[in-house]
């Protein structure tokens, strides 16, 4: 029996609808440790007393949504694996600021190879500050391999 997902139906039902909202406050020491562990050496990333202290540019990737997929999303025929992450830095993330992360399904697409079809789900979290200015976005790509038809 085929396990194929109806991609077009999923796209029309779920794309671009915010399904999760979370709030975060970045701690200065945690930001500095994050940066230093990654190998950053510039004081604007590693020294909280620096006048331009800010999160390293990929920090937005570390935020978790409260739920992985939209409500009523179909059960996936396989275990989703993390296929990649993309981060866009628009403005600096500063410590002590209340951030709001809004997540939506940004894209659903397939790739087909000799071993069958793989389905990719791109979940985008957009990060805003207290004045609703967008600071960053972070994409998480989850891939599942569909079971072949029998």
């Amino acid at each position: 029996m085929s396990q194929e997902l109806d991609i077009e139906a999923m796209k029309s039902q779920f794309l671009n609808e915010v399904f999760d909202v979370q709030h975060f406050v970045a701690d200065a020491k945690a930001l500095a440790d994050y940066a230093a562990a990654c190998g950053e050496t510039a004081p604007q990333f590693t020294d909280p007393s620096h006048p331009d202290f800010q999160a390293p540019p990929t920090f937005a990737s570390s935020f978790h949504a409260g739920r992985r997929m939209p409500e009523n999303f179909p059960t996936l025929p396989g275990l989703g694996m993390d296929a990649g992450k993309a981060v866009q830095s628009i403005k600096p993330i500063r410590p002590g600021v209340t951030l709001t992360g809004k997540s939506h399904m940004h894209d659903i697409y397939t790739k087909t190879g000799r071993s069958g079809r793989m389905v990719f789900f791109v979940i985008r979290m957009e990060i805003f500050d207290e004045s609703d200015t967008q600071l960053a976005s972070a994409d998480t790509s989850v891939v599942i391999r569909e079971r072949p038809s029998t």
Partner: protein, 137 residues
């Protein structure tokens, strides 16, 4: 040699090699800072019980290594995008190196595109990334 402005960058230029710190103490420090303290990242035995070859370096830490490498090469670079594909696990306490090459330059805007690759000691690609950065004009 470090880069301070766009006119110093050459197409095809290779960034200085970067060897990330993937030791357990450093990964634990990162995991705590990121709030990603799961045993699969911080404990080899725990990870092996989950069927993994060892504790994993979080994907977001690999992404952070790429950004640090760019800043070592061009301290004034503003990193606008980093897109990473995780091809295979990066294991804690194993040795990796990161290479980078400039694949596009826009002298008018100061934009540079860089391909970045994390490889293990067998020269197998574990993570591949593309970064878009802005340099002073």
């Amino acid at each position: 040699m470090t880069i301070s402005k766009i006119s110093e960058v050459e197409f095809g230029e290779t960034l200085p090699a970067f060897q990330p710190d993937t030791t357990m103490p450093n990964v634990r420090r990162f995991a705590k800072a990121a709030g990603w303290e799961g045993g699969r990242f911080t404990d080899h035995d725990h990870a092996r019980k989950e069927g993994l070859p060892g504790a994993l370096v979080p994907g977001i830490m690999s992404q952070g290594f790429l950004s640090a490498m760019i800043h070592h090469w061009a301290p004034a670079a503003q990193i606008k995008n980093v897109d990473t594909v995780f091809r295979a696990p990066v294991i804690v306490d194993q040795v990796y190196s990161i290479s980078g090459v400039v694949t596009d330059i826009d002298l008018d805007s100061g934009r540079v595109e860089i391909d970045l690759t994390v490889t293990n000691e067998a020269n197998e690609t574990r993570v591949f990334g593309t970064a878009k950065v802005l340099l002073p004009i």
